[in-house]
């Protein structure tokens, strides 16, 4: 078990390393930040000074080495725009995105799984057909448009919920979270639902497919032959089997939710990492872009690792085979 774990961690580190090179190279050939940042009236001296300051005059590989050495010390350069350390900038926005993504994931799970289970158990019923048709709608609707409509309906027309921004925050463990305040929750509801919609549809369909497949298995028939109540058959035998693929998918989906938040955050002016990256791309704030991408890579790789571990915990066949 430990050798397997070590091997996975090594793989993860390798990926992070490879991605750092890719990211760095890619970002550094995007446009020319010099044009963006330096006003046309700046003198030659000022230009030269700024260029030297940002280290843009050195050859690429040298820039990369500087980058790596700085990174290992915990610094990913300063933002061109804000003149703050890029990493800290990205990290400061992380809680906002994280709470949005987690909330969205919760919605997707708590609504998607029961609905999918029902649709799988009674596939021919009217309710099931409606649910399935709705799920097609759910993953077809472009996130940004749904967000717009939601703002229009709930914020403008009905005035129930705020249309943008993050609510009041409370500091816990040195980090500001907004889900702990009522105002914060109000602000978070629309964007979280918006973000969750796509995932919800996917979870729903996945659950339904898994349920249908599991129901046709012999062990379900055998469980019924033992005289078990339907509640137990579904609640224990079916559920435990479908949870395995769902959990693995969900773990990976958290990562993609965080990435997808880009759109939602832009629409709802949610001050998270997503909005930051879009703004940074506009102004070619390279250090921030790099910092963001590295964060994402790290996040993905970690999530992958956690999902692998979780999978082996949940499925005894995998766990016990890896031991022997």
């Amino acid at each position: 078990m430990t050798t397997w774990l070590l091997r996975r961690i090594l793989q993860a580190l390798l990926i992070v390393g490879a991605m750092s090179v890719t990211v760095f190279v890619a970002v550094n050939v995007i446009g020319d930040p010099v044009e963006v940042l330096i006003s046309p009236e700046a003198t030659q001296e000022e230009r030269a000074r700024i260029i030297a300051n940002l280290g843009l005059d050195q050859p690429l590989w040298k820039q990369y080495l500087n980058f790596v050495s700085d990174a290992l010390q915990g610094s990913l350069g300063n933002s061109f725009v804000y003149n703050e350390p890029a990493l800290e900038l990205v990290l400061s926005r992380l809680p906002a995105t994280l709470e949005l993504a987690v909330f969205a994931l919760l919605i997707a799970i708590l609504v998607g799984i029961p609905l999918g289970l029902y649709a799988g158990l009674k596939p021919e019923s009217k309710a099931s057909r409606t649910i399935m048709a709705g799920s097609i709608l759910g993953f077809s609707l472009p996130t940004f448009w749904v967000g717009l409509v939601m703002i229009m309906v709930f914020a403008v027309q009905l005035g129930w919920l705020p249309s943008s921004g993050r609510g009041e925050t409370v500091e816990v463990l040195g980090v500001r979270w907004s889900f702990l305040t009522a105002d914060g929750l109000q602000h978070m509801l629309l964007p979280a639902v918006n973000l969750a919609l796509f995932k919800l549809s996917m979870v729903l369909r996945l659950t339904r497919a898994g349920t249908r497949e599991t129901l046709s298995m012999d062990y379900v028939k055998f469980a019924r032959a033992k005289g078990l109540t339907p509640a137990r058959v579904i609640g224990v035998h079916v559920l435990k089997n479908i949870m395995i693929p769902i959990v693995t998918v969900l773990g990976l989906e958290l990562g993609s939710l965080i990435a997808f938040a880009v759109v939602t955050e832009t629409i709802f002016a949610w001050p998270g990492m997503g909005k930051l990256i879009v703004d940074s791309i506009y102004v070619l704030d390279r250090p921030v872009i790099v910092a963001y991408l590295m964060m994402i890579v790290l996040l993905f790789v970690t999530l992958n690792l956690i999902v692998d571990i979780l999978y082996s915990v949940l499925d005894p066949r995998v766990r016990l085979e890896s031991r022997s």
């Binding site: 224990v236 005894p316 016990l320």
Partner: protein
């Protein structure tokens, strides 16, 4: 013994009368079981023999009430201790399943839930019908494992299904079926997926259990040799109907239906050395919208225009029934 029924010891445990189970598919009606009748007495073993597609498994599922849509029982009666199972509610059937009527399936790997431990699956079977404590249920599970000849049952209880061998898993399934000392066990090809040696052991175990506890047993199989050594009575099914049935010696030694004759002839051990194996030509017919008449006539050398009618049931001997217009006159060697 917990049976509260007042059945006298002489009436059969199970009596199936003209059972019909049909599947209503988009392409038509599939008459999987089309008028099947037999009875099984207390402590007796009935071998239900047929090829795949003959309807033998569906018969078993019909008795225990696990036929799922688009199929359902469309006619006949299933008298279990004088109650008609086909008329019972789902709740009443659930009280009987695993309790008074148990079923063993074919593939033990897929019968046991791979993500649950053995003790979980056994304890829940106990608790489904008896209100006892978990410890007591576990103790009964352990005893049941011992009863089917599983060594070190305590270890097995904590294991997962994939950690046991095929034979072991099937023994677990048999143990589960015996937990409540049922009056009837339906075994659907339980040894088909196992080695021959294991098969012999399991056959012996099951026979012993049936005799010791007076459990009636329906053994569904396609393997005649199994039936020969195990059953008291045998019923041969073809395309949803029983074509020949009766006392096992009568049917096997003096088979009259061309199909039974063919089945016996195709078993290698039945042939003298260097004699060609008898092969039944053709294939099982498509059961969808089967035309009336004898279903075997497309493959029968003795068929003629008379066979377009449903053959009546004749009884050439006591304990030997037949459904054929042209029974064999020669007997299998």
């Amino acid at each position: 013994m917990t049976a509260a029924s007042v059945t006298d010891r002489t009436s059969p445990t199970l009596e199936v009368q003209d059972l019909k189970t049909h599947f209503f598919l988009k392409g038509g009606v599939l008459r999987a079981v089309d008028g099947v009748s037999f009875s099984v007495g207390r402590g007796k073993i009935l071998g239900l023999v047929g090829e795949s597609g003959s309807g033998k498994s569906i018969t078993g599922f019909s008795i225990i009430g696990l036929v799922d849509p688009p199929g359902r029982i469309t006619g006949g009666r299933i008298l279990f201790q004088n109650r008609d199972l086909s008329k019972l509610s789902e709740k009443e059937m659930r009280q009987l399943r695993g309790n008074r009527i148990a079923m063993i399936f074919q593939d033990p790997m897929m019968t046991l839930n791979p993500v649950l431990r053995i003790d979980t699956q056994m304890v829940e079977a106990v608790l489904a019908h008896d209100k006892v404590s978990k410890q007591e249920a576990r103790a009964r599970a352990r005893d049941a494992l011992g009863m089917v000849g599983i060594p070190s049952p305590e270890e097995r209880l904590s294991a997962y299904p994939h950690q046991l061998s095929g034979g072991m898993r099937q023994r677990v399934a048999i143990a589960i079926s015996m937990l409540h000392r049922p009056d009837l066990i339906i075994a659907d090809e339980p040894t088909t997926a196992l080695d021959v040696t294991i098969q012999a052991q399991i056959l012996a175990e099951v026979q012993k259990l049936a005799r010791d506890h007076g459990t009636a047993l329906i053994w569904i199989t396609h393997d005649l040799s199994v039936v020969a050594g195990l059953a008291d009575e045998v019923a041969v099914m073809y395309a949803g109907r029983i074509v020949e049935q009766g006392n096992v010696d009568a049917v096997l030694d003096r088979s009259l239906h061309p199909y039974t004759h063919g089945l016996i002839g195709s078993v290698p051990s039945q042939n003298r050395a260097r004699k060609r194996l008898v092969q039944i030509p053709g294939m099982t017919p498509n059961l969808l919208d089967l035309p009336p008449g004898c279903a075997f006539r497309s493959r029968c050398a003795r068929a003629d225009s008379a066979c377009e009618e449903d053959p009546p049931i004749t009884k050439p001997e006591r304990d030997h029934a037949l459904r054929c217009f042209h029974p064999q006159r020669e007997y299998a060697a």
